[in-house]
Amino acid sequence: MTQWTYVILAYAVGIGGTLALLLFSRSALRRAEKQFDEIKRK
């Protein structure tokens, strides 16, 4: 493996992981707030 392979691997883990964390946190928030709004309307 060349040095660039290690660099690309590290960036893929870092960037991909951060985006996954953001998407997970955002979808959990939206789900919880939607559930709260539905209960509030009842």
Partner: protein
């Protein structure tokens, strides 16, 4: 089942609790006030964080030169260092929030501590993985049981333990028992002992890991690497802040759902 008012008295009392300092502290415990700040702050932190990280990583990949000794792999610095910083900062936040929760019984402090755990664990894991990727071409091995690497791995396991304990405390609180919350807070404070150990491990032990490049007021990193690194640290910190706010809002929404359902069941 214990009422929401009993678990979070300051929410009902509007912050007035005995003395002026306590009232000041608990004034911020009002969820409506917190949400009015957190809702607009979340996208600001997120967008500015993504922008700063984008600039830093682009510069790190395409504009900065290769290092004399490490070659191209030095570019891993812009992911690895912010992740290490946030892994340790995450636990420091848990410890401070836990202290505030225990001493001042500030209800949002417990939520802030719990909200910091997942992103903290995530960045500790990213630090370990990118460190391992960097170790292979630099040291010739993916992993060594070195003091710095091992203490960081211990931090990751502490995060897993804290997350399990905090989840258990939430279930206990829902059942009207609050003791577990204190256990999680005490664990959060005791676990903080590992943060200075990680920081000083390269000084106290013979380590394959390089010593600290940035200390108070001094840096051994050349300016050409330092400014994109500073941008990356700042940008990832903003993203961390945005995730903590999102998770705090999620936890608050769950607490409010629980309170509503309880009120509906009693009606």
């Amino acid at each position: 089942m214990k009422s929401l008012e009993a678990r979070f008295p300051a929410w009902q009392q509007g912050g007035a609790r005995g003395n002026l300092y306590s009232a000041y502290m608990h004034g911020f415990a009002n969820p409506t006030r917190f949400l009015s700040i957190a809702r607009p702050l979340t996208p600001v932190l997120l967008v500015s964080g993504l922008l700063l990280v984008g600039i830093a990583l682009y510069t790190g990949l395409f504009s900065t030169p290769a290092d004399r000794l490490m070659g191209e792999t030095v570019r891993i610095l812009y992911i690895h260092v912010p992740a290490a910083w946030l892994g340790m900062a995450g636990w420091t936040s848990i410890a401070i929030a836990s202290l505030i929760e225990l001493v001042w019984r500030h209800p949002l402090a417990g939520i802030a501590a719990r909200a910091s755990a997942l992103p903290g664990a995530f960045f500790a894991a990213i630090c370990l993985i990118t460190g391992s990727i960097w170790g292979k071409p630099t040291w010739g091995t993916w992993w060594v049981w070195d003091a710095r690497l091992t203490s960081m791995l211990v931090l990751f396991f502490l995060y897993l333990g804290y997350i399990a304990l905090a989840d258990a405390s939430q279930r206990e609180a829902a059942a009207g028992r609050t003791g577990m919350s204190r256990v999680a807070a005490i664990f959060g404070m005791v676990g903080a002992i590992n943060v200075p150990i990680i920081n000083r491990s390269v000084v106290w032990f013979n380590s394959i890991h390089q010593p600290a490049s940035i200390t108070a007021g001094k840096s051994s990193i050349d300016g050409v690497f330092l400014w994109p690194l500073s941008l990356a640290v700042l940008g990832f910190s903003f993203i961390f802040g945005a995730v903590v706010l999102m998770r705090m809002r999620t936890l608050l929404a769950h607490i409010r759902i629980e309170a509503r359902m309880r009120r509906m069941a009693m009606a």
